[in-house]
Symmetry: C2
Subunit: 457 residues, 2 copies
């Protein structure tokens, strides 16, 4: 077993950027679920037009934290306010480093008043666990690793989302009556078959819906009931090829580079992090290149988390964020890629001479765990594009980007560079040439309904 730390690995690498750009790990994995149930166009269409079942039981890490100091721990690390946070509340938890750059975000479930779970990519989890173990907190933590890092290939919980315009009706049918009226991102109980199941009122695809969870052993039973009941509502199960593309419509950036590779203050954390964890293994890819890993970090404002920042408590990074709060900020936008240019990338597959453009896999087009592409205006870098794929609902290639404020006006034309120069040694990277793709800036989330109704309550 490799007992080295991330810090050890970094000390042997040329730089954090070189380490991550040449990581042999591919894009973030969505295991445990078939690639397609019907086909990805149909599955995407369903979350806009009828409803879908997302099986999220496999790809996220769950960290359970329990004890009298749970709230103090979270409050010391999160930008969020924990005023009044209690059982059945939920939050998008965001943690920053001392300089106010995002380490990670995760969904925080208030399971009991003194017991919570964090669910998502493991970056925030690791930071919280580090403090739980090294700080003066009376808490106990337990991890339930995502499938890709889970040798036993079993989880504690199944986790399903039911989303789309018909989701509410389907949930009522399952429940055998109206759903409890709770605020957005609050939890309640719902009947599914003979069981009481916990649910989070959620709307990942920009439509009302729920995330439900319960014991792993009940996963087939519960799914079976949902799928059968969903038939009359046009329910589609969403395959692993399609699942992550829903965020292109709903506007959440899943893949910020964790702001942990630099700084003396973060060194003890890097010494605690293992040499084979997410932070050491994640692959960095795309046309954006800087020797400074700091240029890959984001502030919470840039990721659209400004509304979560609450100075009602002390937390790591507070001082830095107070300074940033009123300064100009890059902003999160959606880029709508010019279809003609994307078709040109496919056209390059048929040129007999020279190298084709980097292949665009559809519908999810990321070829690294942390995708970073250059966004240019008049030849100058004005932002980075971070998560890319195709939306059948929008009939467009979309990416989620962070762009300088003056270029955020909807309709602004920018240029995105697609492909790496030089090509990195990632296994997902074939020899290719870099190409320019025109794109137009639009709001994130792109979907009008999501933009107005998603966060209303």
């Amino acid at each position: 077993m490799d007992r080295r730390s991330l810090e050890d690995v970094l000390s042997e690498a040329k730089s954090p950027v070189e380490l991550l750009r040449n990581s042999q790990i591919g894009p973030y994995a969505f295991p445990g679920v078939p690639a397609e149930f019907t086909n990805w166009r149909d599955e995407q269409r369903a979350w806009r037009e009828s409803c879908v079942l997302f099986d999220q039981s496999y790809h996220m890490t769950d960290l359970y934290i329990e004890g009298p100091d749970v709230k103090r721990l979270l409050s010391d690390l999160g930008i969020n306010s924990f005023e009044g946070f209690k059982k059945n509340n939920a939050k998008q938890f965001v943690a920053c480093n001392h300089d106010g750059y995002v380490i990670g975000d995760a969904i925080l479930f208030g399971l009991e008043d003194d017991r919570v779970s964090l669910v998502g990519r493991p970056t925030a989890h690791n930071w919280v666990q580090y403090h739980a173990e090294s700080g003066d907190y009376d808490v106990k933590v337990e991890r339930d690793e995502r499938y890709a890092a889970n040798p036993e290939k079993r989880r504690r919980l199944y986790r399903y989302q039911i989303q789309g315009p018909n989701a509410a009706e389907l949930l009522e049918k399952l429940n055998g009556g109206p759903l409890p009226q709770v605020p957005f991102f609050s939890m309640y109980e719902i009947n599914i078959g003979d069981r009481k199941v916990r649910a989070l009122r959620h709307g990942m695809s920009g439509q009302p819906g729920a995330e439900i969870f319960g014991p792993w052993e009940e996963r087939d039973e519960i799914k079976g009931i949902i799928v059968e009941a969903g038939e009359e509502y046009g329910l589609r199960q969403v395959g692993s090829r399609t699942y992550a593309t829903n965020t292109l419509e709903s506007g959440w950036i899943p893949s910020p580079c964790p702001a942990i590779y630099t700084g003396e203050e973060m060194k003890p954390y890097r010494q605690w992090l293992p040499a084979n964890g997410y932070e050491a293994m994640a692959s960095l890819g795309g046309s954006f290149y800087s020797e400074r890993i700091e240029d890959y970090y984001f502030t919470p404002y840039e990721l659209g988390y400004g509304r979560f920042v609450k100075f009602d408590h002390d937390f790591v990074g507070r001082e830095a964020l107070e300074e940033m709060a009123d300064a100009p900020q890059r902003r999160k936008v959606t880029l709508v890629w010019e279809g003609e240019d994307v078709a040109g990338v496919f056209g390059s597959l048929f040129e007999r001479e020279g190298l084709p453009a980097k292949y665009i896999d559809l519908p999810l087009s990321n070829y690294a765990t942390l995708p970073y592409d250059r966004v240019e205006k008049d030849g100058r870098v004005v932002g980075v594009s971070t998560y890319t794929g195709y939306s059948y609902n929008e009939r467009a290639m979309l990416s989620l980007a962070v762009v300088e404020e003056e270029f955020c006006e909807p309709g602004t034309e920018v240029v995105l560079l697609w492909g790496e120069e030089p090509n990195s040694s990632k296994p997902t990277v074939e020899e290719h040439r870099q190409v320019e793709i025109r794109a137009r800036v639009q709001p994130a989330p792109l979907v009008e309904f999501a933009r107005t109704a998603y966060r209303s309550s």
Copy 2:
């Protein structure tokens, strides 16, 4: 358990064509192997430029036949000659119906003088097994089902191919010395680690190589040795997404519609075939449409098996084939699709109005078990195109087609219709519009090397 027969299913269906066109089964499955190891462009490139490991342990059915009458059984059913066939010989076995249309083909391994196996899609197997069980033959048959139809998810044998220009050197390194000089499609023994392993001299990608097989329990050990030894030869493992595209270069048509759905003489066979087998479940898809299932059948001459037809023995279909032998025949060709038109199909994904063209999945683009597309010249159907995908080596979309002789001249321009009209109810079929794609006729196999050297010995 469904005890009905294919004949029962057909009696309830509007027609064989309607049954198969609306089957809910997708394209033929390649389970058990990761989708990609590096990436599909790189994996395709490897079989042309270095070498590859194809893991064929999962997708094919094995039928073992043993006993004093093995050769008589095969000889009564196969178009091939069995003169002198013995242990360590192998053949591409082809069986026809009474009218001389192909039921199926499979690779026949002479394991012992009186014991053989048939390996492939199960159509030929089923026909042979039916006769073994119902006819007057002293043979015993045992099936080892392909993974998709195998509830235990274990096989008797692993089956690997090592192919590509470096394959011979790698095999010699593994063997610890020169390989036995045996004719093409003969079997020999090779050392791998401490084990003696049986090998077939084979060249599936149009390059010299071998197919090796041995006990299932040894699969990880043997693969590990090959992969490690292969490193210096640029060996790539080929993922399930890429594997079947090698046939587009080597020119074998994997998916003829079994000629069993019609005819009184075949009725007892249809009554023997189950309601949930390959023949009842296979999906038929594409722009070629005829109400008559007979229009989907192929003769051995059309599939390029004319050289296998030997009138040195009696066999089912002999009389019909003798009549056909000198008549004009459609011929197997490769269609090289016009890249501009293929890029246009991708371009249709970005049109805001109307329906896009049927999505072209890359690199393997079949959306049915039995893909059948119309090939036209001046608006008239002159052939069918049956297996479609992209070759990074040729930088082209290719399909294997059967075309009227007068249009087989290399370079002949034809038009292929892509997409179904009307759209069938197959889950893989999204709503789409049919489009025309220009294509040029080329030989099959397309690869010059394969065309000249593949069958030389």
